[in-house]
Symmetry: C2
């Protein structure tokens, strides 16, 4: 991501400035709690320069706009709205999952309490719609429609995620659908909104939605790999984080459903009540890999990125902008190489 971040400096700065303007338009305490979440301020309200996240989704919106229009700035309200929805869902998800750290910093509920986190999430959610509605152009109704359906889908994914925790057996299809709902739908929305605000045709909007949705699915698959084999320095999570919490992520589900005889040992480890010690974690990771879960997940992600790029083979898109999106897509998968 670093290369691309350097490449799109102008777009990323625009996103950052517009996002700050929108969030600081909230009244306190909502503004300062949100500013903490975004890494702009510490818990005492002092400006800081923490990691604000990758801004991948709003960048996708602007790059998508560039496939249909030279001027990408018209898509800034949509880019900001998408990033607000993403962050509203992060703040609420952290409450729900009781996650204590995000981007190497204590989560909002951990610092300000769950009540404030619920309210700030609600404020960012409403602010997303306000940002689109205030832009007051011809796209507001279509954008609100797309965004509200996307939030509904996000929530379906989050409900599925919660329900999976209480179940011992998950189908591969259910697991993929959950990733699509939780992650891919918002990335599809991000790119579709870019095409919409860029003035693209319905065919363009649909093509960009397909691109974003497939890329988003690939992105979640890669995240699932990083949840097991990611570098704790980079991910901010512990080694084998997802195995430790017995998360039914794609590599694990694929391994459990592989039909490989070693899957039974993995199932026993996953379904026992005892906390997994280091040896058990090593063994679980080994078994996921031996049963083909790691390879399945990586190959699926690679295939999805190819499909994503193929979605953009429609008439009338700008070749340079399409190439940028292809490069961004490729860099997403290369995170695990």
């Amino acid at each position: 991501m670093t290369v691309l971040t350097d490449q799109f400096t102008e777009e990323l700065i625009s996103i950052d400035l517009h996002l700050r303007k929108a969030v600081y338009g909230l009244r306190n305490p909502a503004a300062s709690i949100a500013a903490y979440h975004f890494g702009w301020e510490d818990a005492d309200g002092e400006l800081t320069e923490a990691n604000s996240g990758k801004a991948l989704r709003p960048l996708l919106t602007l790059l998508a706009a560039k496939t249909v229009a030279e001027e990408w700035r018209a898509a800034l309200p949509a880019a900001v709205a998408v990033e607000l929805v993403h962050n509203f869902s992060l703040v609420h998800d952290d409450v729900i999952d009781r996650d204590e750290f995000r981007r190497h910093r204590p989560t909002v509920w951990k610092v300000f309490g769950a009540n404030d986190a619920i309210l700030v999430g609600d404020a960012l959610h409403a602010l997303a719609f306000e940002t689109i509605a205030e832009a007051d152009d011809a796209h507001a109704a279509a954008a609100a429609r797309l965004l509200s359906r996307t939030v509904r889908t996000l929530i379906e994914g989050q409900f599925a995620d919660i329900r999976f925790e209480g179940r011992t057996s998950i189908d591969l299809a259910e697991c993929i659908a959950m990733s699509e709902n939780k992650t891919a739908s918002l990335m599809g929305c991000a790119t579709a909104l870019g095409a919409l605000y860029g003035g693209g045709s319905q065919a363009h909007v649909d093509a960009l939605w397909d691109f974003g949705f497939r890329l988003g699915t690939a992105f979640q698959h890669i995240d699932d790999l990083l949840g097991i084999w990611g570098d704790p320095e980079a991910t901010g999570k512990s080694v084998y984080s997802d195995l430790r919490s017995r998360k039914k992520s794609l590599p694990v589900t694929a391994a459990l459903r592989s039909g490989d005889p070693r899957a039974e040992e993995l199932a026993r480890l996953y379904h026992s009540d005892a906390p997994l010690d280091d040896a058990a974690l090593d063994r679980a990771a080994e078994l996921v890999e031996a049963c083909g879960g790691r390879r399945y997940c990586r190959e699926s992600a690679e295939a999805l990125v190819e499909e994503a790029v193929a979605s953009l083979r429609v008439r009338g898109l700008d070749a340079a902008a399409v190439a940028d999106l292809g490069e961004l897509a490729a860099s997403t998968v290369s995170r695990v190489r």
Copy 2:
């Protein structure tokens, strides 16, 4: 309210049908949890006929539409959206306040857990915007703008409410501003949206907003009176409910700020750490009344209802519809007589 409910049967049935259609359009588990919240189903998903609430806000939307148009059905999406926002905020507020009962039934978080309650609230919030955006008419952008600003205001009110709990001294102005943000803004939004969808002019929309906002402020004042002197059978709360929880509601704040020497005894009761026993609760209620808090609150509500009705003295509104709104407003205050 009963008389009015009988009077507007057709409108109330329309609201109910459209609201059910929207909510049942959510996927499970969100749909069935929301259906439980609305009193349509019990916790096992069996249809039931519990008290769904008064549907006051969506009724206000439709009656407001009737002041500018014969056909009120065009305003149904707005009425549904307003009711969805109201209920999203109730579900989240119950989590935040740890309230265990609403409309004489266990609250959503109490039955399904806080995580499901957060997610269902989010789903209802998004569904409100979806309902407006899907209606796809000329008013979608303006309605989304008004609704999103209103949610932001609602959240400001809820933040203030939380912050008040940790403070010993509240100004009367702060207390009133909190009621305006938490309650009046959504009622102003409800009536303004009715005028907007009815095709009213900006002057009509503004007048209806004023009406709803003032009525909403009065409504909250009356609720504050009922929180102390309400009949537990009717309110579903314990006797002296707000005193028991030492809530800084308007009658209490007005009494504490009255300058009456007896306010000091009330302050001592309110600021002590010991739970208030029955004798202390009786005494606190007596002191609020002796210091003029009860009268101040009732008189403010009556004045606000008069101002609300006066807001409707603009050219071009339908006299019969204005009379209906006036009657509804009067019935709100008569709850405490």
